[in-house]
Symmetry: C2
Subunit: 191 residues, 2 copies
């Protein structure tokens, strides 16, 4: 009988990472995940999300005893009272986290030790789109720029390669860069 | 001298809304906004964003005395410890909030009083993309479905028209549906 030694790099259990990848290679259906959110309007630009369960790795996840709760709001210049960050700011938070985690994951797979990562994101948007004042203006971000300050035990060339790989494989980056099918349907009125 | 009466619908000050739209019509450059986020990696799939200032309506906003702080994490099945919701879940939160606020805004412009809105979002994703196990699998969401339960003082036809208008004019919906240019650049190493 051998004793498995737990190995760790960048805060990731590399033994479990290898086992996870091997399990997905053996049965690719385990890679199908379904994430969910419920949101309730409060008033004006204020609304609140509750995030809890999801499906993945072939089963319903039950690891969260309490849901995560987040409030969207708007600043006064957009008719709110800063009840929370606004939705397009939360989108930048999702993007920052996803590109960071994707970078850490693939660095770990390559055996690169990361010393630090910090990112600064800037997204440009013209609100004539949201307000339907000019049909030629897209409602969404015109462009998003991410500047990543990263240091790791590898060369500049290896870092540049890692970052391009990360951009191409980050789920949130890909959701932003690619036209993703979005269905909005109305529930039947219940009264 | 006339006394301006404050009018309100759906928690939105309609006098201010009208004034805002008139100001943007007079000077469309006021509609240019720049939103920002700073994020710092902690370990593994854990990282933290700080959201504070932005530029819009022709100036730097100074309405937030304290920044908003949000933590991304991952569940155990994705090698984390539920330090926070994960980035693709935060993306669903952004989407829910944006489609809700856009609906409320345009309902208010149409004089429709909303009684309630709640949304349920489901996003399907195949993590073979993230893990680079199959190049034919996109890294991002395959599809996102939003079911909105809405009641308001208008007909079903008016609600359906409002929802389609909202989907087309929501900044986050549009950022997801449209291929948005995303630049990831590396800061010069500082040591």
């Amino acid at each position: 009988m051998t004793t498995l030694q737990k190995t760790e790099l960048n805060g990731i259990d590399t033994t479990r990472m290898t086992e996870t990848v091997q399990a997905l290679e053996a049965d690719p259906t385990l890679a199908r995940f379904e994430f969910r959110n419920r949101n309730r309007w409060i008033q004006g630009g204020e609304n609140r999300s509750t995030i809890s369960g999801f499906y993945g790795a072939g089963r319903e996840d039950d690891s969260r005893s309490e849901p995560f709760v987040f409030t969207n709001g708007e600043p006064p210049v957009l008719l709110g009272d800063n009840e929370g960050a606004n939705p397009v700011e939360f989108l930048l938070h999702a993007l920052a986290g996803c590109v960071t985690t994707t970078t850490v994951l693939h660095a770990t797979a390559r055996g690169i030790k990361i010393d630090r990562i910090s990112t600064r994101l800037v997204g440009e948007i013209d609100l004539q789109g949201l307000l339907a004042l000019d049909d030629s203006v897209p409602a969404g971000y015109k462009q998003i720029e991410i500047e990543m300050d990263i240091d790791a035990d590898c060369s500049d060339e290896e870092l540049d390669d890692l970052l391009q790989f990360s951009k191409a494989h980050s789920p949130t980056c890909n959701t932003v860069c690619r036209p993703v099918p979005l269905v909005l349907k109305r529930a039947r009125r219940s009264q």
